[in-house]
Symmetry: C2
Subunit: 311 residues, 2 copies
């Protein structure tokens, strides 16, 4: 435990190895990880956290890379959390992608962390929140979180950030459908990537029409980029800065963070309650007994859950 | 409440309107819905439940339609649960798709239910499980569940079924990456759809290599289909029947259902525990107080969760 405290101290002094070790503890939700977080959390809250989400094939990873370079050009230090398993930032990177990312991974002002989408012991959202807290406390100006995007879990992760960017591509015609189905609501900035594609104009106009029809005082900006050609990245950076200034001045940042805090505390409490239940009734055989009755169709799952918690 | 019992009685006699009404109650997780489920659950367990998952653009919906027609040709009655918001089975269907689905939707031996991916009051997985139970108890031979597929939540839904089908397309090169990242593990049958595309051979060979390298006695079959051309659908149907026979004879079906029962009971218990916590400490202001301390960074979320449940 004193080891953890010493590692936290080194992290706060800018030691990258200490940061890496603590991130592993946080991801695995160990007692050391929790202890580190309790010390790091009060030191966090200064970074501009940005979540990027969008379907596979939207060029999100290339965009994240281009955006990171633009922020570096503007003198900002960066944390990058890559959750997408197909991202070149992640383990599954092709050799070519790894080489293209080399300028970022070898930059001492950039700290890159890949996370698995599955098997996070504490759940994806709390793990990511902890990793972001540590990078924030480490002193990074901007923390980018790149997710896979289609699932509720990933969308939840992107929505935790101060600014949520939804990346779309003209090619996939069902993107507009997907937008209607819910991703729209979480976007603070919309990006039409691969805007050099032939039907990009039509697509951007369709999006603009949806935005115009939506209620709310602030219209979500639509930024057109071609990340592979490095086009529109400056505009995107400016839109992100503008959104940050807006949420700070309007008080939206504070209310959003309060809302996220509530969500996170309740999610963690839920997990602990069930852990406690499993320990107690795992030992006394109560869970096995109820499961057996459900499996044999003698009892339905809702009634079994009621019985389990009523004791 | 006696109304519910009467509706359950009518459902069990084959009344489609009663089924429709009860499904709405189940989806909204009302007391009536839970009461209906407790009566329907002991009558369920006979249907072959099949979950279809795969990324958007894999042609999953067309495949589901083609598969449904093939099962009908073989004399089976069907329940179809469409969770994908972009599916032509769902609300967002284009007119053309609706017309193409007309033969299925007007068939009295097919019962189609669309579900929203978001906003299910009881969560996506428990809602879907309840809907499947009702269709099963209604007497359908086969219940197809079509999900969006990329998110953890949707994969969980597909994995609840007796047989889980993962649909892939040659076009998207990162599919093989995605497979490595976890979708692989849940597939009982793999489908390479749009196998008329030029690189289909290479893609199917890559998949076969991954399958051959995986541990386990049973090799996941790879079925090549072109659902739009109605090719390979008979083979897929045969592979599904073969899988059903395998799990019944080997005892895998029973152990899988027990595992799913455990998962479902614990998920429902977790939800009830947190609901109870929110009712109690929402009223007495304890949650607000802790959230305020987290939002102001005085306390980290883990410690707040500990405090909340320790009382």
């Amino acid at each position: 435990v004193t080891d953890v405290d010493a590692a936290v101290e080194r992290l706060l002094q800018g030691n990258r190895r200490a940061l890496g070790r603590i991130l592993t503890q946080i991801e695995n939700d160990t007692p050391s990880g929790r202890r580190a977080l309790s010390q790091l959390y009060p030191r966090s809250g200064n970074a501009h956290t940005i979540g990027l989400t969008g379907s596979a094939g939207s060029g999100k990873s290339t965009l994240t890379g281009a955006l990171a370079r633009e922020f570096r050009r503007r003198g900002k230090t960066l944390g990058i959390v890559a959750i997408d398993p197909t991202s070149p930032f992640s383990q599954g990177a092709l050799l070519g992608d790894r080489i293209r990312m080399h300028d970022l991974t070898s930059d001492q002002h950039v700290f890159l962390r890949s996370m698995a989408t599955r098997g996070n012991l504490g759940g994806l959202a709390p793990s990511t929140a902890g990793v972001v807290t540590a990078l924030d406390a480490f002193g990074k100006d901007v923390v980018l979180v790149e997710t896979v995007g289609a699932g509720q879990d990933e969308v939840e992760v992107a929505a935790m950030a101060d600014t949520t960017v939804v990346v779309l591509t003209p090619g996939a015609g069902d993107d507009v459908q997907a937008m209607k189905a819910g991703i729209m609501e979480i976007a603070d900035v919309l990006v039409v990537n691969k805007c050099d594609l032939p039907n990009a104009d039509l697509f951007a106009r369709q999006l603009a029409a949806i935005i115009d029809a939506a209620p709310g005082e602030r219209k979500t900006p639509i930024i057109r980029t071609a990340s592979a050609l490095n086009e529109g990245i400056g505009e995107l950076c400016a839109a992100l800065d503008e959104h940050r200034a807006y949420i700070e001045q309007s008080g939206v940042r504070e209310s959003h963070r309060r809302e996220q805090a509530r969500h996170q505390v309740l999610a963690l409490a839920r997990q602990r309650l069930i852990d406690r239940l499993v320990v107690t009734h795992g030992k006394d055989g109560r869970i096995d007994e109820l499961v057996e009755r459900v499996a044999s169709r003698a009892l339905d799952p809702h009634s079994a859950a009621d019985e389990l918690i009523s004791e």
